[in-house]
């Protein structure tokens, strides 16, 4: 984590790291510092424009948009990170297993991952989420379901690469047990490559989560998930533009920050993509 602060080379990268840290901080403490209850309906104060009382205004039911935004950070980010962590665990288990067994099983699994990977992820997740019954949990599992092949493919590649190296042959000769090989040799070596990919995927997963919520298969209105907030604000867009603007800007800035960080990590950690 501390290393992250020494990596940025440009002001944009510094800004991105700071922004990402703020967003993560808000996601953790946001619910404790909100000025208002994000679910408190008050028709007397509905559709108030941004002011010193309500910095980001209020929505169509009189709820404070800033409070909802801060709560939403936790909902949106935790959902995003859960998808990525579950995707990595499932994908890497399959990928590492595939590389270790090799042969026909390896071939079949990777072909399956290839094909699965290609299908439009959003529509796949839409199908899965609506089969489960629309909810934020459904959207999360739906994205895990369509995301795992990314990491299966990547971890298989890295593992196969590590297994072909000489120190593994020495380890075999010494009789190092399998679990030790996986946890001591493969996972630490695969870590850098994975962390780059995961960071670059944060924005895509976040856009997918909020997109699914926007359509109505993810978080349900009035949950303050950012995509659901945009869906909720749509009907008031003509006389309450701030309701739609705030969560959209929040998604955009967060996604942009993580994209910039991912790009930076790739430059610093991934030896195959030294470009400059």
């Amino acid at each position: 984590m501390l290393r992250l602060l020494t990596l940025p080379k440009t002001n944009i990268e510094r800004a991105a790291v700071i922004l990402a840290l703020i967003v993560i901080l808000v996601a953790i403490i946001g619910p404790f510092v909100t000025p208002y209850d994000p679910m408190q309906i008050s028709f007397r104060s509905k559709l108030l424009a941004p002011s010193s009382m309500h910095w980001f205004g209020t929505d169509g039911s009189g709820r404070d948009v800033l409070s909802r935004l801060l709560h939403g950070a936790q909902l949106t980010l935790s959902a995003t990170f859960f998808v990525l962590i579950a995707g990595v665990v499932i994908g890497c288990t399959i990928g590492i297993f595939s590389a270790f067994v090799g042969g026909a099983a390896d071939n079949a699994l990777m072909r399956l991952a290839d094909i699965w990977l290609g299908f439009p992820p959003l529509i796949l997740a839409l199908g899965f989420a609506s089969a489960l019954g629309a909810s934020l949990q459904a959207a999360i599992w739906a994205l895990v379901f369509s995301w795992w092949p990314n990491y299966a493919r990547l971890s298989r590649m890295v593992t196969a690469d590590i297994l072909s190296q000489k120190f593994i042959a020495s380890a075999d000769a010494l009789g190092v047990p399998l679990h030790r090989k996986v946890f001591r040799y493969v996972i630490p070596n695969a870590f850098d490559v994975l962390i780059v990919q995961v960071t670059l995927d944060i924005s895509a997963v976040m856009l997918a989560i909020s997109g699914l919520s926007f359509i109505g298969v993810g978080a349900q209105i009035p949950q303050p998930e950012w995509g659901a907030m945009i869906a909720d604000g749509r009907s008031y867009v003509a006389n309450g533009w701030w309701i739609v603007l705030a969560p959209g800007v929040a998604i955009f800035l967060t996604a942009l920050a993580f994209n910039v960080i991912g790009d930076m990590l790739r430059r610093e950690l991934d030896p195959t993509s030294r470009r400059r």
């Binding site: 290609g118 529509i123 839409l126 199908g127 899965f128 945009i230 749509r234």
Partner: protein, 335 residues
């Protein structure tokens, strides 16, 4: 020819994976399909009867075989909400969506190819940095949000383009044989309808294309940047070929293949992403159909859309790969 045969076999294999996924969705994940098919108020006796009729008492593998048979005969099931065959619903909704995706793809190519080529040529320059930042910003924009913003500002406030729908009020009677209005209006020689259709397509297509264009620029840059370092470029420079000639005649022609393969895949992904824009712009289409089916818990209609988008995706990839193979002078094997 071996390459084409190999690609076709791979596509058929992929089709079965797709069928497996949709089978999983409609028969396993969604719970008992008989309960789904019977509707919300069915009694136990009706459900038991349906179970037998639908072959749900048979082993899963047999069910999968029956399912594949039905789908491959073009039977996508019946929407329990509209009581219509889903296949005919989907066929009606597909042309407007494909039209939208075509225009979005044109925008994508028109931006991605030149920007990708130029950033590869001037890699590391300020221009490259600026475009890279733009790419990262574009890849972070929520499609549905930018669609709402564009609709409010460009169509609402500035009144430059129509807000919603496929055609203006004056042309509401228009209908054509294929359902592709751009094509139908040209065939009928009706320029008025053609321009009206186009005007209605600009905003949704632009909103849809943004995310894909961001990826497209990056992919094109990556594909081209290696080419600029190759010996033939040095040779062409030494011979005194002009820089534009090197860029377009040599580098672009050689480096385009991997990029075009990705654009082929993007076609299917864009069709999937129509769920995010069609509803906002009030356009008929497969994306809006899917969203409507979701809100009505019409699982078979949703899964049918997943299947159809998957098939279009496979077909687009296959066509692009075969076209690139046929056009390639080397006819080399591509992995």
């Amino acid at each position: 020819m071996a390459y084409v045969a190999q690609r076709i076999v791979f596509s058929i294999l992929s089709l079965f994976v797709l069928l497996f996924i949709t089978f999983l969705l409609s028969h396993v994940v969604a719970g008992d399909p008989a309960i789904v098919a019977a509707g919300p108020n069915a009694g136990a006796a009706k459900i038991a009867l349906l179970r037998e009729q639908m072959g749900l008492d048979k082993p899963l593998l047999t069910q999968f075989a029956i399912y594949c048979g039905q789908i491959l005969q073009g039977d996508l099931g019946t929407s329990w909400f509209t009581r219509q065959p889903i296949a005919s619903d989907v066929l009606r909704e597909l042309p407007p969506s494909l039209e939208l995706v075509f225009i979005a793809m044109l925008i994508n190519l028109a931006v991605s190819l030149p920007l990708g080529l130029l950033t590869a040529r001037y890699a590391g320059s300020r221009f490259d940095d600026l475009v890279r930042l733009g790419v990262m910003a574009g890849a972070g924009l929520p499609v549905f949000w930018i669609a709402i913003i564009l609709q409010q500002i460009v169509a609402g406030r500035w009144q430059l383009l129509p807000t919603a729908g496929r055609l203006g009020f004056a042309n509401r009677e228009f209908s054509g044989a294929t359902g592709f209005y751009l094509f139908d209006s040209l065939a009928a020689g009706n320029m008025n309808v053609f321009l009206d259709t186009l005007a209605h397509l600009v905003l949704p297509a632009f909103a849809l294309s943004l995310l894909f264009t961001a990826v497209g620029v990056r992919i094109t840059r990556t594909a081209m940047i290696g080419e600029f370092r190759k010996d033939y470029v040095t040779l062409a420079r030494a011979k005194g070929a002009s820089e534009p000639r090197i860029m377009f005649r040599h580098v672009f022609a050689n480096g385009a293949t991997p990029a075009l393969t990705v654009f082929g895949m993007q076609f299917g992904w864009m069709l999937g992403a129509t769920v995010l824009v069609e509803e906002i712009f009030g356009r008929p289409g497969i994306g809006r159909y899917a969203v409507k089916a979701v809100t009505q818990s019409d699982i078979h209609a949703v899964v049918a859309v997943v299947f159809v988008v998957g098939v279009v995706f496979l077909l687009a990839n296959l066509l692009v790969d075969i076209a690139l193979y046929v056009l390639s002078p080397r006819k080399q094997q591509r992995a």
